[in-house]
Amino acid sequence: MPEKNISGTEERVTFTLAGALAGARRCVPIAISGCGIGLVFGTLAGQAGLGAGEAALMSALVFSGAAQFVVLGLWAAPMPVATIVLATLVVGLRHLLMGAALGRVFSKLSRLKAYGSVFFMADENWALTMGEFAKGRRDAAFLVGGGLLMFLAWTGSTFAGSAFGGVVEDPSRWGSTLLSQLCFWLSSRGCGRGDPTSFPGRWRPR
């Protein structure tokens, strides 16, 4: 059933290279701050007993900073596998709502594209993508472009932090945690300069 927008016309959903590049460009600051967090994760993973290969593999396959940091606290020998997987699942539950929110647009893509794309759905690129959709720019590859850049930054910096751990003592002292959160928050705002309705919380397409 084609979705109608406010003016009653059908909205097309595209999946283009240009969309992916636009998504990647918007995620550059997020990916840079993500490198800082990845270095910390890699370092802490080393201290928790994960090898560099294991830490990088976890970042590549799980690709969820929130879940991975939680799991580091549980990582021990003998491995509490069930607890770790359950914790991962609980931390990931927000993805259900995020995926459902994308669903209204992504349902117009092929299954391969839709279900392949959501692997790269992280909080930040998802929020930016929702902002794009709200502005009527419906290119689903925007999510993948941003996500792929974040994926490379996250996995690469995890490996670097794990292999050369201890270089960064505590980046949050330099405000990097706050910075990355702010990048995320501010860049996810709707458009409209000085328009209070563009603040997060009001996302109705105009």
Partner: protein, 104 residues
């Protein structure tokens, strides 16, 4: 660089659990035809989710983070400029940390 089989097993299960949550939302949305009301509800999710990871960072960080966040909100609302807001936020954190370090 050796990968322990037990670690690999755990990591793969973690990956499956996380991907299930990522794909699950899409699947649910495709399964059910959303009413106007449910659609309106979904439209409100981004705001709620955006605030949820930011709020703990700010509130658990202490007075420095709270003041920096306030400065960011003010600059952001006044100027609408994201770079200006970010520079203000990080600048406020650095300045207040330096003051803190000198006072203690």
């Amino acid at each position: 660089m050796a990968i322990d089989p037990g670690a690999l097993f755990t990591i793969v299960l973690m990956a499956l659990a996380t991907y299930a949550t990522r794909a699950g939302g899409l699947w649910l949305a495709s399964r059910f035809d959303l009413s106007e009301r449910a659609g309106a509800w979904l439209d409100q999710i981004p705001g709620a989710i955006l605030v949820s990871p930011v709020a703990p960072t700010i509130l658990m960080g202490g007075p420095v983070e709270v003041l920096a966040a306030l400065a960011v909100v003010i600059v952001s609302l006044r100027t609408g400029s994201r770079p200006a807001a970010m520079v203000t936020g990080v600048g406020t954190v650095l300045a207040l940390r330096a003051m803190e370090a000198n006072l203690l």
